[in-house]
């Protein structure tokens, strides 16, 4: 943004100086300097989810997943008392422990939580995303019911209220704009 302004400013001043051909060299080097300076300027924060495909936007409801077959297969004994166990295991490929040796570039590796290239989320990814939306709503004082990964009536109602308060279409969908406003990132 700052850079764009610099460019515009330089262009304007260049137009202003038409006819003073001898000044052109100075102008160009000045512009180069100004551009260089803008590298050191504070840049404005981009919206949270910029140029990221949102595969969750169409899911206003996912009532079928409660009875999804994958559930029973992931139920473990320890969670049975709650009557509900989020089947997170496949969605989270645990990154290697941070003590693991790193490559020379220093990149701490970690499998992406959610692959941005997929068109449709898996049941588990969707459930986690709904939980994150519920947590964000709850943290902002809305009542999405339990934080359980179910797009329940209460969650949809909370989403609508939040969207309306933010001047967004109150459609109870997890649109990119809604996720941005909630501080929920599509890619970790």
């Amino acid at each position: 943004m700052r850079k764009a302004l610099t460019v515009v400013g330089t262009a304007l001043s260049a137009m202003h100086g038409v006819g003073h051909a001898s000044n052109n060299v100075d102008k160009t080097s000045l512009a180069a300097l100004a551009l260089h300076d803008s590298d050191y300027a504070t840049t404005l924060a981009a919206p949270l989810n910029l140029n990221v495909r949102n595969m969750y936007a169409s899911h206003s409801s996912h009532s079928s997943h409660a009875s999804h077959a994958s559930h029973s297969s992931h139920s473990s004994g320890s969670g049975a008392s709650y009557g509900y166990t989020p089947a997170y295991t496949p969605a989270y490929a645990p990154p290697p422990p941070s003590t693991a040796p790193q490559d020379s570039s220093g990149t701490a590796t970690g499998a992406p939580l959610i692959s941005p290239t997929k068109l449709r989320p898996s049941v588990d990814q969707l459930q986690i995303m709904i939980m994150r939306v519920q947590a964000a709503l709850y943290a902002r004082g809305y009542d999405p019911g339990a934080i359980d990964g179910e797009m329940s009536v209460k969650t949809k109602e909370a989403l609508r209220l939040f969207q309306a308060a933010r001047g967004l279409p109150a459609n109870a969908k997890m649109t990119t704009e809604t996720l941005n406003a909630l501080g929920v990132a599509l890619t970790p």
């Binding site: 166990t85 997170y88 947590a135 970790p188």
Partner: protein, 395 residues
């Protein structure tokens, strides 16, 4: 003073030594994977959120009441007291003892990336005396820590020891910051001696969008500077390093610790900076931190800040008239003449800062940086007294 380390009670040590403390917002944001986070069950919102949240693969749980943690999962209980750990902080768990150390504090005015305990200087007033140890393991650990720091952290200080002793690895740390925390300003505290090798300085050209080097210079003459840093040849190395950094298009701050021999030639130093280092963006004149080596060299170093005031004013005027930004650090307002107040910064890190009982009646306490918490009577100016009213009120 707020301690940065504490013994904790725990069960089933989480595998990863660096962990971020998570609340609902951290889970919602999804910036950090649960495997690298401790869910803070002390938070009422988190506790009210329901059991499903606890089933996620958190590294473990922070709690006052171990029964709140799901059975069979790791938990850590932080004792009540001065040691405070909150949501957003990054903690390190000691490998053997039940110890937890704060490595990043959300909202703190001074978070540091500690590069090494080694140093090539041996300054008379060093607040962090160096140790000759192989701590190269810190580099990969720092890279991991950087991953867990809030993306909107305003600034980080890279310090040591002497960070440039990391050589190319310092570039790696800075690059990691540029990639992961591009909006966070980096302040690297170095003696600049290693940049005598201009190739090392060149490695940092264009590397980070917002980085300032804080380089100390203690005199206009090698004799004085080399004496203060207790290293022959240091002055010429640092001066050559400053030029190499400038050639590599780096932003430079000159840092001057106000110990007696330095203050005595401070106007000469100001002139040296203006004449020879006009590219310097900022000059920080800093009161001595009474800890580490400084305590052993009290007689050689101590000068009451109140007695410095006239000469300090000359140096500040000289630099600011010549458009070199200048600030005064670590000096309480009551020891400075009022015209210098505008240059005084609240520079002491929050966790080691305090006020004296006398400060309670002071009308400018809010503007004042106060004192280091390890301040003793010996190291306190005779002129410390509450300001009762500004000059406007007096007239």
């Amino acid at each position: 003073m707020q301690p940065l380390e504490a013994k904790v009670q725990c069960e089933q040590w989480p595998a990863s030594p660096l962990l971020k403390v998570a609340g609902l917002a951290e889970f919602a944001a999804g910036t950090f994977p649960p495997e690298h986070m401790l869910l803070d069950l002390r938070d009422t919102q988190v506790r009210a959120a329901g059991p499903a949240l606890c089933h996620l693969p958190w590294a473990g749980f922070l709690t006052d009441v171990p029964e709140h943690a799901p059975p069979g999962r790791p938990w850590i209980a932080v004792p009540q007291g001065a040691f405070k750990v909150g949501i957003g902080d990054v903690v390190e768990l000691g490998p053997h003892a039940s110890k937890m150390a704060l490595r990043y504090r959300r909202g703190s005015n001074n978070n540091i990336l500690f590069t090494t305990e080694r140093c090539n200087s041996y300054c008379l007033m060093c607040s962090q005396p160096p140790r000759e140890v192989d701590d190269s393991w810190r580099v990969s650990q720092l890279c991991n820590l950087i991953e867990l720091i809030d993306k909107d952290a305003p600034s980080l200080t890279v310090t040591g020891g002497e960070p440039t002793l990391l050589g190319k690895d310092l570039r790696r740390v800075v690059l990691r910051c540029a990639e992961v925390l591009p909006r966070t300003h980096l302040h690297v505290l170095s003696n600049g001696r290693a940049f005598e090798d201009s190739a090392l300085a060149q490695m940092f050209e264009g590397l980070h969008p917002s980085l300032t080097w804080g380089i100390p210079l203690y005199g206009d003459h090698y004799g004085l500077h080399d004496y203060i840093v207790q290293s022959a040849g240091a002055f010429s190395q640092t001066v050559r390093g400053l030029y190499a950094l400038e050639a590599a298009k780096q932003q430079i701050e000159v840092r001057v610790v106000l110990v007696k021999p330095v203050v005595e030639r401070i106007t000469e130093l100001a002139r040296f900076i203006y004449r020879n280092l006009p590219f310097v963006e900022h000059v920080a004149l800093m009161g001595t931190e009474p800890i580490g080596f400084a305590r052993a060299h009290y007689d050689d170093l101590w000068m009451d800040p109140a007695h410095m005031a006239p000469i300090l004013r000359k140096a500040v005027d000289y630099l600011s008239k010549r458009s070199i930004r200048v600030s005064l650090y670590n000096l309480p307002l009551c020891v400075l003449p009022e015209p210098l107040w505008a240059y005084a910064r609240k520079s002491i890190s929050d966790w080691k800062q305090r006020y004296l009982p006398a400060c309670e009646q002071c009308v400018v306490k809010e503007r004042c940086g106060g004192f280091f918490s390890w301040m003793t009577d010996k190291w306190t100016s005779q002129s410390v007294e509450p300001i009762r009213g500004t000059s406007c009120a007096k007239h």
